[in-house]
């Protein structure tokens, strides 16, 4: 079986679902003959035609609004925002229509759409190409916010997102698009949405994260293990609706919680998790909750971008602080 990267897993999921469901269509800027600027839609137009893999005019609002219209007519559109930093014009259509059409019409019209976007920094891109703003979407009722962190989860979660009867924003951590390969059988098996994945068991501290930072957290867990510290690593994967039970269970066991994300700290999604830990796990805690996040600054241009991002060293330090506290 071929080993594939995360971006190839995205392509594989799109191709599988398009081949098995005629109502699935892909639309966006440069998704057609060019196969997307990251090649996520490579070869799809040749396979499925110009109508099902549609190059749209260069307008994000158009992409999002047309996606709502397609979905309202029973199609399953997968829209691409070329970069997550360009998604802002789509937000009105996502928040005001995609996420609330079911509620507005008492279920008469629904929007089973996926809005994909290459997310986060770390690839030396120009301004506006490196944003992490998943928290802005996590506050929109009726919307799922999903971030895969490996080729297998990209494949399984994207299949699940396309099949889901409600809208999903699917943020692909582009820093790890081609970081490593793994075997991902093209068997059409979806992974569950709305659940956290426990990627490593550990009894001393819980590392909670999503997207590209899963990599740094696993590295931190390795480093901590060398010092005899057991770190449990949880990939949240679906930010909303949140599977807090999995996080609570882990914190109950470890008594320590470090939340790691690339987005700015203040009102980032880590704040929600920290609040929930305070509400529901306070008496399990042996140390204050730590957050290792991006600073409350605009994503710097690329010379400084890695300094804004949580590093493995910062995560290890935070974990050790929680251990030192008790």
């Amino acid at each position: 079986m071929a080993q594939i990267t995360l971006i190839e897993a995205v392509t594989q999921a799109l191709a599988y679902e398009m081949a098995h469901d005629d109502s699935v269509v892909v639309l966006g800027e440069d998704v057609g003959v060019n196969g997307g600027v990251f090649r996520a839609t490579q070869g799809l137009q040749q396979k499925f035609g110009e109508l099902r893999v549609l190059d749209t005019p260069l307008d994000e609002t158009t992409i999002a609004g047309v996606t709502v219209g397609l979905a309202a007519q029973g199609m399953k559109p997968v829209a691409e925002a070329q970069f997550e930093g360009f998604i802002y014009p789509m937000m009105e259509q996502i928040a005001c229509h995609a996420a609330r059409m079911r509620n507005r019409t008492r279920g008469r019209i629904t929007v089973p759409a996926v809005f994909r976007a290459p997310w986060g920094g770390g690839i030396h891109a120009p301004e506006h190409h490196s944003e992490a703003n998943e928290h802005l979407f996590a506050n929109i009722p009726g919307l799922r916010v999903v971030l895969p962190s490996s080729p297998a989860r990209a494949y399984g979660l994207l299949l699940a997102a396309i099949r889901d009867p409600d809208p999903v924003v699917f943020f692909e951590p582009k820093r790890i698009y081609r970081q490593y390969k793994e075997e991902v059988p093209d068997d059409g098996e979806a992974l569950p949405l709305d659940v956290c994945f426990v990627l490593r068991d550990g009894g001393d501290v819980t590392l909670v994260t999503w997207g590209a930072q899963v990599k740094e957290c696993l590295e931190a867990a390795d480093a901590l293990a060398e010092e005899g510290i057991g770190a449990e690593v949880i990939d949240v994967a679906t930010l909303t609706p949140l599977d807090f039970d999995t996080i609570a269970e882990s914190v109950h066991k470890t008594g320590r919680c470090v939340i790691v994300h690339e987005a700015p700290k203040t009102a980032g999604f880590g704040a929600e998790i920290a609040a929930r830990v305070a509400e529901e796990c306070l008496y399990d805690l042996l140390a204050p909750v730590e957050r290792v996040t991006g600073y409350d600054v605009h994503t710097p241009l690329y010379r400084l971008e890695m300094k804004q991002m949580p590093s493995t060293a910062r995560i290890v330090e935070a974990a050790k602080r929680t251990l030192a506290a008790s």
């Binding site: 099902r52 007519q73 629904t110």
Partner: protein, 361 residues
């Protein structure tokens, strides 16, 4: 000098403000006087409905309401030209079109009366139309997306969106007509130019001499129509729908009319426009001219008018009663349509809301 492109915008009118026929080539539907009487009757019931809605709001039985007074020809013209299988994406005051397609007055009252069930249109073809769209012009893209779905599936259906003169300033409107042109989509975008976007007049909405010509920029067939003349509106709509259905592309129609009422019941138009302007607009309103024309043809008279008005009043009374008798949804209804299946986290919040209800009782 070489010319890269040239365009002109036709203005279509059959009946002038007095109901005098200004051209002889009446379209087929207008030669059927029984049908024209039906259209007149629906325009009238729309007006009676509208007056009833405003009265309900004034007596505290309805929330903020957007009146359609003066738009009857535009709206009934749109609705009557569409086929059942077509899809309408309205903004929020196109009741004449919606009533024609099966939206019930009680549903309009429910929506403006604070109950989402008003958007769950029970009767076809309205049942497959979009609900009211409050964020301006956003619905144009839903129509474009619907039109794309029809094209992908090879269905001979047309998507129709309506917006106001103000809405034509928004990027969503341009985005919709632009992709319709680029992809040859079966879209009919109707600008109901009623001269006022709340307090902002048409002349400072756009420097373009017509709003119809915005369609030229998108490569669509574009026409300006007397929006108070139902024959012209219906004819322009029929032609546009036929072109779209037969794969000849989308259209932009500018229906020139006038908002005789306030923007909504929360607005007071006396703050920004003069009495004379409104008085002049009343002289051009759509009902009078059609009535004169029908009376001159011997198809309508005062007796029929009174009888139909009484029928409309009875109908609206039934609808108002049905609305007023509708019980408020249980508190759980705010949760139950957020997702197809209630997530566990949200289920806990639903339980909390429900427990507070039990405490209150």
């Amino acid at each position: 000098m070489s010319i890269a492109a040239k365009f002109e915008i036709e203005y279509l009118q059959y009946l002038d403000a007095e109901g005098k026929q200004v051209r002889d080539d009446l379209p087929a539907f207008a030669q059927d006087l029984d049908h024209m009487v039906e259209l007149y009757k629906l325009m009238m019931s729309t007006r009676v409905f509208d007056a009833k809605s405003v009265a309900l709001q004034r007596t505290g039985k309805l929330g903020t309401y957007a009146s359609c007074l003066g738009h009857e020809a535009a709206h009934v013209g749109i609705g009557s030209a569409m086929r059942p299988e077509d899809v309408l994406a309205p903004s929020y005051r196109e009741y004449g079109a919606q009533l024609y397609r099966g939206v019930q007055p009680r549903e309009v009252y429910m929506y403006w009366g604070g109950d989402e069930r008003g958007n769950d249109y029970r009767k076809e073809p309205a049942r497959h139309d979009f609900a009211w769209s409050v964020p301006i012009a956003t619905q144009c893209l839903h129509a474009a997306g619907s039109a794309l779905a029809f094209k992908i599936r090879g269905e001979k259906r047309v998507a129709v969106c309506t917006i106001g003169d103000g809405g034509s300033s928004k990027g969503d409107f341009y985005g919709a007509i632009n992709i319709a042109g680029a992809q040859n989509l079966p879209l009919v975008a109707v600008i109901v130019n009623n001269q006022w976007a709340i307090s902002v007049p048409r002349k400072i909405q756009s420097g373009a001499p017509t709003l119809a010509q915005k369609g030229i920029a998108a490569g669509l067939f574009s026409i300006q129509v007397d929006g108070n003349d139902i024959i012209a509106v219906r004819k322009a709509m029929e032609d546009a729908l036929e072109r779209a259905r037969s794969g000849q592309g989308g259209s932009v129609l500018e229906l020139v009319t006038y908002r005789l009422g306030d923007h909504t019941t929360a607005d007071d138009a006396r703050r920004y426009r003069g009495e004379q302007e409104v008085k002049d607009a009343w002289a051009r309103e759509p009902m009078k001219r059609l009535k004169h024309w029908l009376v001159a043809k011997g198809a309508w008279d005062e007796q029929k008018e009174e009888a139909w008005k009484a029928e409309c009043d009875d109908w609206m009374d039934d609808e108002v009663n049905a609305y007023l008798e509708t019980k408020t949804q249980p508190v759980t209804a705010m949760f139950d349509y957020t997702f197809a299946e209630l997530p566990a986290d949200l289920a806990r919040q639903r339980d909390l809301a429900l427990s507070l209800e039990h405490k209150a009782h």
